[in-house]
Symmetry: C2
Subunit: 298 residues, 2 copies
C-alpha cells in the first residue's frame, strides 16, 4: 500500500528534477522530500533514484513510476470530483446540451420545472457528453444523437424543425410548406450559434450564401431593416430578450421546411443507473415539447 502523498512527491520531483525545488513546489522543506522518496523506494521495494553525493536523478524505473503515478493521481482527482458531483446531483440535477435549441425550450419552460434543477447555458461538445454523465457533472444532456453504451442510454424527446422566414411579398412566401431546393441561390442572415443546423443548411441549399452574425442584437437589427430571409425553428424565438420580441413583427412569414434533414431528432441522454431518478422529468420534458407547428401565426 502506497500513501498518496508519496506519489505526489514523486510526480513533482519528476517535473522539478531537484529535491529543493520539489520541496518548494509542495510547500515543505527539503529533508521531507529526501525522506519521502526513501520511504517510497522502501514501500515499492524498487530503486527509483540514482544517488550521487549532491546529485539525485530518476532511474528508468523511477521515470516509469513517476509517469504512472501521475495517472493514479489524476484518477484520484476525477474520483473526488465525481463523488462530489454525485452528492450534488442527489438533490440538484444539472441539465446540459450540445445544441442551442433545447436551451430556448428549457428557458421557456423554466417556471414549470422543479426547483432542484439548473440549466447550464454553455453548450458542451458531443465528445464531452459521456464524461459529463459519468462524472455526474450533468444528469441530463440534450443532443441530436442517441447514445447507447453499457452505462448510458437516451430517450427521444421530440424533433426540432427548421423554419425559414421569408419576406411576406416574396412569391415563395405564399405557401404552407417549402423545400430546401426552393431556397436555391438565396442569401440568408444566420445567427452563428445555431449548432448542428449550420451543416444542414450548408449542405442542403445549393448555391446559397450565408451571412453569419454572432451578435443576437445585431442579428435582430439586420433582419428588421432588411429583407434577408433567416431561419428559426419550432423551438424559437431563441430567447425572450428584446431582440426576440422584435422578431415578432418583422414583416416576414415563417414557413416550415419539409425536407427530412430539416427535422432533427432531439434526445436526452442519462446514466442508465439514474433512470428511475430522471424518468419523471423526462416525461415532463416530452409532454412540454412543442407540437410540430409552424412559426407562430401573425
Amino acid at each position: 500500500m502506497i500513501e498518496t502523498y508519496l506519489l505526489e512527491e514523486l510526480v513533482t520531483f519528476a517535473k522539478q528534477q531537484t529535491l529543493a525545488k520539489t520541496a518548494t513546489a509542495l510547500n515543505v522543506t527539503q529533508p521531507t522530500i529526501t525522506r519521502g522518496m526513501q520511504k517510497l523506494e522502501q514501500d515499492l521495494n524498487v530503486q527509483l533514484f540514482d544517488r550521487q553525493p549532491n546529485r539525485i536523478s530518476l532511474t528508468a524505473t523511477g521515470q516509469l513510476a513517476a509517469q504512472e503515478a501521475e495517472k493514479l493521481l489524476q484518477d484520484q482527482q476525477t474520483f473526488i470530483t465525481k463523488i462530489q458531483n454525485y452528492e450534488q446531483s442527489q438533490n440538484h440535477l444539472l441539465i446540459e446540451t450540445t445544441l442551442p435549441g433545447p436551451l430556448v425550450f428549457l428557458t421557456h419552460l423554466n417556471d414549470q420545472l422543479p426547483a432542484n434543477l439548473t440549466v447550464n447555458r454553455d453548450l458542451i461538445t458531443v465528445a464531452q457528453l459521456s464524461d459529463h454523465l459519468r462524472n455526474h457533472q450533468a444528469s441530463l444532456i440534450f443532443s441530436n444523437q442517441e447514445v447507447l453504451t453499457a452505462d448510458i442510454e437516451s430517450r427521444f424527446i421530440g424533433t426540432e424543425n427548421l423554419i425559414v422566414n421569408l419576406q411576406k411579398f416574396m412569391y415563395q412566401a405564399n405557401q404552407s410548406r417549402i423545400t430546401f431546393h426552393e431556397l436555391e441561390g438565396m442569401s440568408f442572415i444566420v445567427l452563428s450559434a445555431i449548432g448542428a443546423w449550420k451543416q444542414v443548411i450548408q449542405s442542403a441549399i445549393p448555391n446559397a450564401k450565408f451571412l453569419y452574425q454572432p451578435e443576437r442584437m445585431a442579428f435582430a437589427e439586420i433582419t428588421k431593416y432588411s429583407d434577408f430571409p433567416y431561419f428559426s425553428t419550432n423551438l424559437s424565438p431563441w430567447d425572450s430578450t428584446v431582440a426576440a420580441r422584435d422578431l415578432q413583427d418583422d414583416n416576414r412569414v415563417g414557413i416550415p421546411i419539409s425536407d427530412t434533414s430539416a427535422h432533427m431528432p432531439i434526445y436526452v441522454s442519462y446514466l442508465t443507473s439514474q433512470r428511475a431518478n430522471v424518468l419523471p422529468l423526462l416525461n415532463q420534458l416530452s409532454a412540454a415539447w412543442p407540437a410540430v407547428i409552424s412559426h407562430p401565426q401573425r
Copy 2:
C-alpha cells in the same frame, strides 16, 4: 488529496457492512475505523454514511465512492507490480509464448541465449498478451499474429511448418511433399498440446479422425507400436525428453505439407518503448530460426 488507507477502510466497510467487522478484517480496532471514516468524509467534503446511534450505513454517495475507490486501489496494485516487474526486466528479460512451437525452439537454443533471460514454459492466451507486455510481466511474447497498437509492435521471426509422419511403406510416403487433401479420411494420433495447429488440421483434412493424447510419453509409446501417422513441425522434436528421442527411430518418414495453412507465421511482440533493448535479441532469434527444411532425414 485522499490518503490510500482511508480508501481501503471504505472499501472493506462496503464489504463488511459494520465497523467492527471492518476493523477485524483490517487488523485494527473499531474506533480506528470510526475516525477513519469521519476523516474521509471531511477530506471528501461529502456525506458518505447515514448514522444512527448504533447503526451506520452507506449513503448512495457512499456506495458509489466505495465502488470507485475499489477501482483506484486495484489500479494502485497493478501500478506496484508493474513498477516492480519493470525493474526486474531492467536486468532480466522474460519470454512467453501463446504457442508450444517456440518453446521447443527456445529450449533447444538455450545455450546460446544470454544469461539474463528466462523462458516461461506455461503458455499464455492471446488475450493476456497485451497486458503482460504493458505490465512488464514479459518482455517478449511469441504468437502467430502480428500486434500493432500505439505501444506494442511485432517482428516476424519465421514460419512454423507442419510435417506429417507417415509409415514408411504407405504409398503416400514416397514423395517429398504432400497436401492436406491427400491425407483425407486418415486417423492421426495427436499430442493435445499443439496449440493453433489443432484448428488447422481439423478444418483442413476432410473426414479425418484425431486421437488426442495429452501425455507425451504415452504419445511416444503409441506411435512406436502402431502405424498411426502423427504431426510434427520444423520446430520439432517437441523437446529433448526420452519420448522425443524415441521418435527418432519410429519407422516413419516426415513429409512437409505444402498447403499455405500448414505454414504458420511466427511473430514476437514487445513494447515499442523497449525496441532498442530487445532488438539484438530479436536478431539473434531470427538468425537461429530453423530453415525451412523437412523432418530430419533418417
